[in-house]
């Protein structure tokens, strides 16, 4: 029962990592295109990243 749990949590964390990476990358693109909107983009980026991060932590919790 222990090993599937750990693998599942690992998969979730990989997914969350890819998700946050994509958000960061897209935010970089957006800032490069419109530097004057940096503040707004950063805020939106942080919120989206925080929401995804929550899922990653929830998975780690399930294993614990």
């Amino acid at each position: 029962m222990e090993i599937p749990k750990i693998i599942g949590a690992g998969l979730v964390v990989i997914g969350a990592g890819i998700g946050i990476g994509k958000i960061g990358g897209s935010a970089m693109d957006a800032i490069a295109r419109q530097p004057e909107a940096t503040g707004k983009i950063q805020t939106a980026m942080l919120i989206a990243a925080a929401l995804i991060e929550g899922i990653g932590f929830a998975a780690l919790f399930a294993v614990n």
Binding site: I47, E53, F57, A58
Partner: protein, 396 residues
């Protein structure tokens, strides 16, 4: 004399970043706890696997000790130990005891110095109490302080209700007092100086304005934001200060305690629920603009969502702070794992860089918590003007 500001800032940042190293690198804050923990772990490990505790190699023992030390750092404690010297044989703890308040068929109040850092049995009105090394909790024991355990290693002794002023509670009180004095003083200074920020106000004013103009107003709206401002500012500075205290040599881990983040999340949930307008509940129980069968499916999901939101607030803050502390301490423990001339500078450098990152995380987590709380409040007071002729999507 010309002082450029840049190097000064770097030096201050460097000093702050070194602080956790001091707390963590100083030889085991509670070496006795850790030693007991190690033997306990070793005993339970050998119980399951092989041989007696004495069969462990030096390497495995040191490994267990490091793990126990990290675990011990993350826990709350009944006395405030600043540092310990004198080695494992005759440890001298420098710190101060905190009051222990127990409810066990009557009120028991005594100082935690009675426990002698977890080694002695404390007697109060005919009852005997002892701190368990394994989980740091107080249990009722016999006069010798023996614990009974089931086969899984859980203590089966009776547990009194513990309302003690522990290290975490003490630090929360300190931070509360600090916030009160700081901001009450700043508030007065504005009256005296004719609404111009002076001293510390120059540092805090932009932060407060940022919370108002970039967090509260865009998320909650011009009309309602004022009544939430006090909560948002309090929670921001409270979490930020607690996070920063977690990086000081005091060695506290307050926001990395699930009970504390849970209470912050519950307060947020209660405020959201009790200030919510009609539209908020309308969107939960009878989602407008979707076919009727869908409304029945969406209602339980939306209702569950109201609980998941504060739950994720709780987990996010807790897990971020705990993860930060564990990684930082593990990096410092590398010094002992390598046990070579290369190990120390490497682990020192890594821990230093991570400490700088942790300062950012301390601020970022306070910001995220405040931001999301504002977002939830905004959803609670948002007023929709539903017009059946228009398409719903146009409103969002």
């Amino acid at each position: 004399m010309v002082f450029s500001k840049k190097p000064l800032q770097i030096i201050i940042a460097a000093l702050v970043a070194f602080l956790p190293l001091v707390s963590i690198a100083n030889p085991t804050g509670d070496s006795t706890h850790v030693a007991a923990e190690v033997t306990h772990k070793a005993a339970s490990n050998s119980h399951e696997a092989h041989g007696a505790a004495e069969n462990l190699t030096e390497e495995q023992k040191a490994d267990l000790e490091r793990k126990a030390y990290i675990k011990h750092h993350l826990m709350d404690s009944h006395d405030f130990t600043l540092f310990t010297y004198g080695g494992e044989e005759h440890p001298t703890h420098v710190g101060f005891p905190l009051p222990v308040i127990l409810w066990d068929g009557g009120l028991h109040v005594f100082l935690s110095s009675k426990f002698e850092h977890g080694e002695a049995v404390a007697e109060s009105k005919g009852n005997y109490y002892k701190i368990n090394h394994h989980d740091g909790l107080i249990y009722k024991t016999d006069a010798q302080g023996n614990f009974t355990e089931d086969e899984k290693g859980h203590v089966t002794n009776a547990k009194p209700l513990d309302f003690s002023i522990t290290k975490n509670v003490f630090m929360i009180l300190v931070v509360g007092l600090l916030l009160f004095l700081l901001f009450a003083g700043l508030g007065k200074s504005y009256k005296k100086n004719g609404s111009i920020a002076k001293g510390a106000g120059r540092f805090f004013e932009p932060i407060i304005l940022y919370i108002r103009d970039d967090i509260a107003i865009p998320n909650i709206g011009e009309k309602h934001y004022k009544k939430y401002m006090s909560f948002l500012l309090t929670i921001f500075f409270f979490i930020w200060f607690l996070n920063m205290f977690g990086l000081t040599p005091l060695g506290v881990n307050i926001t990395g305690n699930l009970a504390i983040t849970a209470s912050l999340a519950v307060i947020t949930y209660l405020i959201t629920t009790f200030t919510a307008k009609k539209d908020y509940w309308g969107h939960i129980f009878w989602m407008p603009g979707v076919p009727v069968p869908m409304k029945f499916i969406l209602a339980p999901i939306e209702l569950l969502g109201t609980i998941i939101k504060p739950f994720s607030l709780m987990i996010r803050l807790y897990a971020n702070m705990v993860a930060g502390h564990i990684v930082l301490m593990s990096l410092i423990a590398l010094m002992y794992t390598f046990n070579s001339p290369i190990g120390s500078p490497l682990s020192f450098f890594l821990a230093f860089v991570l400490s700088l990152l942790e300062i950012l995380v301390a601020l970022l987590q306070a910001y995220i918590f405040t931001m999301l709380a504002a977002l939830y409040f905004g959803a609670a007071v948002e007023e929709h003007h539903h017009d059946e002729h228009h398409h719903e999507a146009a409103h969002h």
